[in-house]
Amino acid sequence: MYPDIVMEHFMHPRNVGKIKNPTSVGEFENEARAKAVFYVVVEDGVVTDIKYQVAGCPFAIAVCSLISEYAKTKRVEELKVFSMDDVKRFFEIPEDKEDCIKLSINAFLNAIIPLT
């Protein structure tokens, strides 16, 4: 089934929710109507708060949670190159779940890139 870390984050996702007045919002929806939305607050080029909403499979959800932890206190300049390779450091990605991971990454980058 799922790698342990995916299961852990899926069952207990961190930083869930919306932010009232975010610096930026990014979303991504695939053809099959899975969707992720990231809300970020950025101060002096640094992510100080981040939340998300997601409707997708456990991979999509876990990756949102992982990204939200990873991004906090990091610089936008550093985050704008976030990619599949960064996720791969956390767990091995099954071939047929690559799109799910991209869903979350794309929503995140859609929030970050306009800030750079």
Partner: protein, 392 residues
């Protein structure tokens, strides 16, 4: 996970202990090939048990024993029926009538036949998943050679009016095949009264073993063999007979005939209590398909608005509750259900369908834990969902 609650009986069922008991001697003792029954008493003994199994199936369907052919399961029976009739009757015509809610084991063979020059006409189904026999009649032309319409749908449990459809087919001299994989052993089937010419069934859907099924073919039906070789099963289905599987299938049929009515009554009660509780506890849930007698007693299929099925099933599984199916959207894997599409479930809800199917080993005691866990999981996933605005 201690005691698992299993809610995927439409996908497959555990083998009844009595069925396994009956099968056991056929692995290593009564193992002979029944083909040489004239010269070997070991073979003759196995052959006798196979014929007993055939009789049990015939009894369950009100068929004659010579009309039962053993196969490797529902998929093979469907392939054999549809391709076998099409290939053998091409000179009579090339039109086939079916529906959009058939199982893939019917739809894919039909697509292949379409590429080979056959014309497939699909009868519409209504929003509950029902085919109107009159609509079937409208599609018939003098080129129609086969009507293939399932007895009950595996996703939403709608039981079709196959008796009437069969009558129309008979009146027009057209072969009628029904995929009864979801009904045999659960709902009374009578191939004579229902005017069925070919019927597919699969053992593992009613507490028999996997890898074995049967095809009923009415006497004097013009059909080409699908699996060709040594000429077993009177030339229609070659291959060394799977005696263990066949004996298991026969026993499952015998038990089903005796206990079906009682079991299905119980199952229906559990199902109804379960759905009432779910609707009471969880807002914005609606049923897919029909209420009442024309639905398989073990089948529940509903939309939980605002969430997707896959993470819900995973969460429930973590809590020891196994719910099958669910559509994932990832590369190469599943499309949203073609059945939910056919009954016009809104696009927004296509990935939110949940199927729970109750079997004879479920109990009323399981209803509460299911509902409590489901409520909790739904709340969590709705809180997470960008499609669920209620919490704003």
């Amino acid at each position: 996970m201690n005691k698992v609650i299993y809610l995927d009986n439409a996908a497959t069922t555990p083998v009844d202990r009595r069925v396994l008991e009956k099968m056991l001697p056929f692995f290593s003792e009564k193992f002979a090939n029944p083909a040489t029954k004239w010269t070997s008493s070991l073979s003759k003994e196995v052959d006798d048990y196979i014929e007993e199994a055939r009789e049990n199936i015939a009894n369950l369907l009100n068929a004659d024993v010579e009309e039962i052919y053993f196969t490797s399961g529902g998929t093979e029976s469907d392939n054999a029926a549809i391709k076998g009739i099409a290939w053998a009757n091409r000179d009579k015509g090339s039109e086939i009538i079916s529906t959009h809610i058939e199982h893939e084991a019917v739809l894919r063979p039909l697509e292949t036949l379409a590429r080979q020059g056959f014309t497939i006409k699909f009868v519409p189904v209504d929003s509950k998943g029902f085919v109107y026999p009159d609509e079937v009649k409208k599609l018939i032309t003098k080129h129609t050679i086969l009507i293939s319409i399932m007895h009950a749908n595996n996703e939403i449990g709608s039981i079709e009016a196959i008796e009437e459809i069969g009558k129309i087919a008979r009146e027009n001299g057209i072969y009628f095949h029904t995929d009864a994989v979801q009904t045999v052993g659960h709902v009374p089937v009578d191939v004579k009264a229902m005017n069925i010419d070919l019927l597919s069934l699969s053992a593992h859907k009613f507490y028999g073993p996997k890898g074995v099924g049967a095809l009923f073919v009415r006497r004097d039906t013009n059909i080409a063999p699908f699996m060709e070789g040594g000429g077993q099963e009177r030339g229609l289905r070659s291959g060394t007979l799977n005696s263990t599987g066949i004996v298991g299938l026969g026993e499952a049929a015998k038990i089903a005939k005796a206990e079906m009515a009682f079991n299905e009554e119980r199952i229906r009660k559990i199902r109804d209590t379960l759905f009432e509780s779910i609707q009471r506890e969880i807002p914005e849930v609606y049923l897919n398909g029909a209420e009442g007698e024309k639905r398989l007693s073990g089948n529940l299929n509903f939309v939980i608005k605002g969430i997707r099925s896959e993470p819900l099933l995973t969460t429930m599984n973590e809590r020891g509750i196994v719910i099958g199916g669910g559509s994932a959207c990832s590369a190469g894997s599943k499309e949203p259900s073609h059945v939910l599409r056919a009954i016009a479930v809104p696009d927004d809800d296509l990935f939110s369908g949940i199927r729970m199917t109750i079997g004879k080993f479920n109990s009323e005691d399981e209803v509460m834990p299911i509902v409590i866990n489901l409520k909790d999981a739904v709340k969590k996933l709705r809180d997470l969902s960008p499609f669920w605005m209620k919490g704003d």
